[in-house]
Amino acid sequence: MHKLRTTCLLAALWLGAMVLPGHGARADAFADLASPQLGAVTAAISTLAASDDPQAGAVLQALGERNLFAAPDGSVYIRHGENYIDARTGQPAASVPEGLKPIRLNNRIRTALAGAQAGRDLLAPQPATRLRAADALYARHDPAMLAVVEHALAVEKDAAVRTRLTEVRAATILGQPPAPDALQPRLDAVRALGAVGGAQARGILAGVAQSDAEAPAVRHEAQQAVSRIDWHLRAWGVAQNAFYGLSYGSVLLLAATGLAITFGVMGVINMAHGEMMMIGAYVTWMVQQAIRATIPALEPVAIVVAIPVAFLVCGALGIVIERGLIRFLYGRPLETLLATWGLSLILQQAVRSIFGPTNIAVQTPGWLSGSVAVGGMDITLNRLAILVFAGLVLGGLMLVLRRTSLGLQMRAVTQNRRMAALMGIRTPRVDALAFGLGAGLAGLAGVAVSQIDNVSPNLGQSYIIDSFMVVVFGGVGNLWGTLAAALALGMGGKVLEPTIGAVSAKIAILVLVILYIQRHPRGMFPVRGRGVES
């Protein structure tokens, strides 16, 4: 050992390096890497990680890559292809001793290495790297790294990294076995972790609260912190569910408004409405493909371009359907239902024939992907965008219905078709336009749905029953009713989901709506007027 230490010292001096505290320990550390005792190896790794020896990084890296070799005499070498480098000096080794063996890796050593790497990253120049390293250490909270963390904390300037490091320190302290004389640091650590919150902190704190070795004061503090965190997690869980519910409700709203318009004005349930959505989604895909082929620079906004295109394509298709099919079935709403169902089969099969039966990949542009964390919940951007989009569509529709002459005529026909006709409103024209508007809205819904769901010929089928439920639940000819029903069904489903499961929640919602319709046969907001009462 003496000989080794001397050699090492000489080498260091020869390199012109400063004589550092812990230098002697480091000399041991190199040799300990080859030790048969795992504890010695991991300790050596930690020591090396905490040192500022210029060779430490290279040695640890070589160890991780299985390029570190040890000789029986305790000298350590890094292999570079065919050549060997003396691990202590970094100089090429002239000759290699006999019996050189690679240092084995196992899981514990790998874990220790990863921690050591994180420890070194804590001192990296970029704050982002340091923050990442702190995150990694927080997840591991290895007591061996406490010194490293404290050292890093002492030199850290960046506020965000400091906060995170404080948390890491707290977690690390609590990861150590309790000592009777050091109560205060543990109490502080518990408080610090309690303030952080989150599932991980809760796990550590719950462990402390249940540990018998812990001082009662610490356990009590930990228990309180756990219940505080639980409360927060629950509150954020509710908020998260509410967001999911809102998001699903907004999809339902988009899908159902068009249906509600045609149902309100013409008394016709358009069974091909889901297929209009499906076509809207395919139009989105085609617009994306076309823009990618012609002006690739505009690809991120292809989805925005697709919105009016889908509206116009589906709207035009809707008018064609009304003129070519529905108008021959005036006064026979139930048979219209059958005819539009037939139409939906044909549209599905046509899309299947043209585009194939499998899902197509509609791109989500970069500015719509990912999520933002708000407190303890994740807001996915595409769902947020759909929420906003649904609001805009509803607002636009309100304007059309309230402020345009078409809207006035549509409302008149909804309330009393015959009287409206007597007043000079051309009801066939209103019907055609209303049907076109409904189909166009379905197209818009298709654009939105293409961002969150699989786009296949069956897309419409998965939304149609839910949209029907929204329409009959909300009541006919009242957009507020549709809005309330969509949000109620969306929220209701998501609120029930965690307790009884997704499928049962769906069944429960269906049954509740069926029962509700029995009590209120015309939905939540029935249109009042002489025309609609039989």
Binding site: L325, G342, P521, S534
Partner: protein
């Protein structure tokens, strides 16, 4: 126009002819299936089970026609009653397998052992007795229809609203039956049947008998339906269909009439489902799919709504077409079915029976109740 004058669809002779034709055809086919293989008239097991399937579907069509053609209730969920009847029969057939299942358990069906259940759920009690299964086949659909109809008709849910909630009903049932926890085999449903009443289900004789029984029960249902719609009660139904409010103002109780025919119809559908399962050999949650119910409506529309014979005819013809189409041009079947929906509603509002009457220059049958209804709504 007096709604009570529309008696045309209920000509007794036609129904009797149809019933006889069904029984003769089923009997003939059953006899043909027992001929030796080499005989040119021999009918294969495939043809026999296909015919059994058509006749079971014809019972479903009859059930739909009873409520849609005569009471004006467009049901988009009648396949639910059909499937429930099928499941009731499937339970019995499942128990009949006994210890011959993969796991060799005498009392628990294979899928329950697979889910490591220890005991039969209570609703499977007694399912080893055929008589109890036969009761369940009509009682379960009848009960569900009773509860659903009582709630719906009492609060005057009608028209498109009713259609949509019947669809929601079958959709909810489909979702429920897909779940393993419900105890009906989840995704796979009930299958791998071996015996019925001790007779091998795969033996030609058993199949022949089942086909004849199906033919007889269809004929019986046809006659029973004819009896119902030909009675004073049938007149009331047509009155409700054509002018519900007026009928109510005259002092009748439309909701009771509707409820009665609704439950009766659900029972016929359940019976059809039970016969279907014995001959097709499987029942799974796919039978609850809303599309199935809507398809059964088009059978009635093609045959002629409000004509009992038309429903039977439509079911057989459309399904025959489906079999042929899916064998020859599988790609085009959905186009064909879609066009059938559109063309029937546009050009053939009274179906094939209406066409037949038109060709024979008989006075056209009055089956345009919605006109009256919506006019009533809007006036």
């Amino acid at each position: 126009m007096n709604p009570f004058s529309t008696h045309a669809p209920r000509s007794l002779r036609g129904v009797i002819w149809m019933a006889v034709a069904v029984v003769v055809a089923a009997g003939g086919l059953a006899a043909a299936s027992l001929l030796p293989e080499g005989n040119p008239l021999h009918a294969s097991a495939f043809v026999v089970s296909l015919a059994g399937k058509y006749l079971s579907y014809a019972m479903l069509a009859l059930a739909v026609d009873l409520v849609w053609g005569f009471a004006g209730i467009l049901t988009l969920g009648h396949a639910a009653f059909f499937a429930l009847g099928g499941y009731a029969m499937g339970m019995y057939l499942m128990r009949e397998i006994g210890a011959r299942g993969v796991y060799g358990n005498a009392s628990l069906p294979d899928f329950m052992i697979f889910l490591s259940w220890k005991n039969l759920p209570w609703y499977w009690w007694g399912s080893e007795h055929f008589a109890w299964a036969a009761v369940l086949v009509v009682a379960v659909p009848g009960l569900l229809a009773g509860v659903f109809g009582w709630l719906a008709f009492r609060s005057r849910v009608s028209g498109v609203y009713l259609s949509i909630i019947t669809q929601a009903l079958t959709y909810a049932l489909m979702l429920a039956f897909f779940q393993n926890g419900l105890g009906f085999g989840g995704n796979n449903g009930l299958t791998d049947f071996k015996d019925i009443l001790g007779a091998d289900l795969h033996a030609p004789h058993t199949r022949a008998v089942l086909l004849v029984v199906t033919g007889l029960l269809l004929a019986a249902s046809l006659l029973a339906a004819r009896f119902v719609v030909g009675s004073r009660f049938g007149n009331l139904l047509v009155a409700v269909r054509d002018a519900e409010s007026r009928t109510r103002f005259l002092g009748y109780r439309p909701e009771q009439a509707k409820l009665l025919v609704w439950v009766f119809s659900a029972m016929i559908a359940g019976l059809g489902g039970a016969l279907y399962v014995t001959q097709v050999g499987i029942i799974n949650p796919g039978e609850f799919a809303p599309a199935n119910s809507i398809e059964s409506v088009i059978w009635v529309a093609v045959g002629g709504r409000g004509t009992l014979c038309g429903a039977v005819l439509g079911a057989i013809l459309v399904n025959l077409g489906k079999t042929l189409f899916t064998a020859w041009l599988p790609e085009f079947w959905l186009y064909g079915l879609g066009l059938l929906f559109i063309c029937t509603t546009l050009f053939l509002p009274n179906g094939l029976m209406g066409l037949w009457r038109h060709v024979r220059k008989a006075p056209p049958e009055e089956v345009t109740p919605e006109v009256a209804d919506t006019q009533g709504d809007e006036a």
